[in-house]
């Protein structure tokens, strides 16, 4: 009976000010929650995306046990035929091989610890766009000598293009590894952490340096997005013996970050729950008054033939109208806010910036306009409103028309 809805709609305007205040409190809660959630999701998405797309990839293949103990001794033999076989299994997605280990880089007076990464220049560039990050000198060529040094390390060592750097490390099966290389290019990363960490050699050169001919420590599967991960993992696991190889998705590659995100999100869920509890109390006050002040009228309605269930339905619709009005208003206000910060991200400075830099990510926090965040807020308000209607339900259930009308 849509007359009930008309009745409910008109009823909420019997006390215009109270309705507007209640709806406004809901609107504020939704605006706040949507903004906070969007900012948080945007920040984390960006951070994980950075880390995944610019370094780890959505999935990697290693020798079994490499993720437990990341040493050159747990590298695996690679050959072009196998890589082609894998690429076939992945539907043409590229496999990017790396031979990585920690090393010391020195000029004599200055020495720093680095992550030395032997890369296939073409594949690496196709995956991470490394060539575009060269700010001085030139990018690596596959079959030529060369050394790319990240900008932070170049500063620490005080070297420029053409200067010589000595690299020292432990090679494959405990051999000593050392070599002298001329810097051929300087690369700069958005992530301050990577800027102070990375040194690149062409793969063949790195294999020679580590005494690990024909070997690699990891193979990045150059997938297009998260959606491709389950299929790729299944394909690779079907192909490889788990005793010999491990195939890891991005969540397993960066468990610390995934956990940090879950922790961070749980924290703000608690804040939002507290906020909603406060809003719920305010809303409950309104529902209480809406019910109490109309008991005489309820008595009349039940006396003339309205079933208690119908009456409860009207009250329920009133609470729902009121809160959904607030929710929609909150979303309408949140949308431009969130959209604005998606285009003009917040840039952190000071302590917050340090936190981000620790994770190796630019201290920039964009929001994200995600329909799911809006839906979750809408659903929360809906459930809240539905729970509120328990009070009128209980009240109407036991209401005696005679008592209600004896004013």
């Amino acid at each position: 009976m849509n007359r009930s809805l008309v009745l409910a709609w008109r009823n909420i305007w019997r006390n215009k000010r109270r309705t507007l205040i209640s709806a406004a409190s809901v609107a504020f809660a939704v605006l706040f929650s949507v903004s906070v959630s969007s900012l948080q999701k945007g920040g984390w998405d960006r951070m994980l995306d950075n880390v995944v797309r610019f370094y780890f990839g959505y999935a990697q293949v290693h020798a079994a046990g490499y993720s437990e103990e990341q040493t050159i001794d747990r590298s695996m033999a690679m050959d072009a035929d196998r890589m082609r076989e894998w690429e076939g299994a992945l539907g043409g997605r590229q496999v990017v091989p790396r031979l990585e280990s920690f090393a010391l880089a020195s000029t004599g007076p200055a020495t720093v610890g680095v992550l030395l990464s032997g890369i296939d220049p073409e594949r690496e560039d196709a995956f991470t766009g490394l060539a575009a990050r060269v700010v001085k000198g030139a990018y690596l060529q596959p079959d030529e000598q060369g050394l790319l040094v990240s900008a932070g390390i170049a500063t620490d060592l005080g070297v420029g293009v053409g200067d010589t750097v000595i690299l020292l490390s432990q090679g494959y099966q405990s051999a000593t590894a050392d070599g002298k290389y001329a810097v051929t290019g300087i690369v700069s990363f958005g992530s301050p952490d990577l800027n102070k960490l990375m040194v690149f050699l062409p793969l063949a050169e790195a294999q020679y340096f580590f005494g690990a001919e024909g070997r690699a420590t990891s193979f990045v599967l150059d997938l297009e997005g998260q959606d491709e991960v389950p299929g790729a993992l299944a394909a690779m696991r079907g192909l490889l013996d788990p005793e010999v190889h491990e195939v890891l998705g991005w969540e397993e590659l960066i468990p610390d970050l995934v956990q940090a995100r879950a922790f961070d999100e749980a924290g703000s869920v608690i804040v939002l729950i507290i906020l909603y509890l406060i809003i719920a109390f305010g809303l409950f006050g309104t529902v209480l008054m809406m019910t109490k002040e109309r008991e005489y009228e309820f008595g009349v309605l039940i006396a003339i033939g309205m079933r208690r269930g119908q009456l409860t339905g009207i009250l329920w619709a009133e609470v729902l109208f009121l809160s959904l009005m607030g929710a929609l208003a909150g979303m309408a206000m949140a949308l431009p806010v969130v959209a604005w910060f998606q285009v003009n991200p917040i840039v952190f400075t000071g302590e917050m910036a340090d936190v981000y830099e620790k994770f190796g990510v630019e201290p920039v926090m964009p929001t994200v306009v995600d329909a799911r965040i809006f839906l979750v807020q809408g659903a929360t308000i809906f459930l809240l409103a539905a729970a509120m209607a328990v009070y009128p339900w209980l009240r109407i259930r036991s209401l005696s028309p005679v008592t209600a009308m004896r004013h």
């Binding site: 003339i304 033939g305 005679v402």
Partner: protein, 227 residues
Amino acid sequence: MSMIVTTDLSRTYNPDTIPVHALRGVTLTIGSGEFTAIVGPSGSGKTTLLNLIGGLDTPSGGRVLVGGTDMSRLSGNALIDFRKNHIGFVFQSYNLIPVLTAYENAEFVMLLQGRPEKERRERVRALLAAVGLEAHMDRRPSQLSGGQQQRVAVARALAPRPDFILADEPTANLDSHSAENLLDMMARLNGEEGTTFLFSTHDQRVIDRARRVITLVDGEVAEDVRR
């Protein structure tokens, strides 16, 4: 034909603390088409009697038969539906839903019954015309005088063609002119529609218009006069 039969009807409030014997064995028969007043001083049990007949309250003893149905056998939605389909109510005041217009108020019970739109429209328009309010159909109760509000309430009660109408002091909050008007109108509709009216009052001019007057004193029938 008897419409309402009460047998040795009694109602005691607060039986466990300070008992108030509001009705003490009332036996009455109200026939179809009657226009009957229940009169008596304040506190004599008029409201209690009408509430029991209307199924709004439960007797402490005796019983109420309405068109052969024992009201004490009904409860919950069955009782509410029985009232909706058989009994029209007019209360002392604040009968109407403030957010609905006169028309919508008059239509309300028919709508609850699920009567079709066309039937409702014809019936409500005719009744509002009969109570002299066709020009005020779109007004809300707050824009109507007390007398006009009571007339809308009578129209609402009559609209679904109930077996009878119970009106508890319908003129209590009206000036004497409006009170006489309302009663004249009720008497006319009683004649035209043949609807049974049972109303309580202690207003002499209202009593004068009744064709049967039942006098309650201390919860008992003291006099029952037909004219």
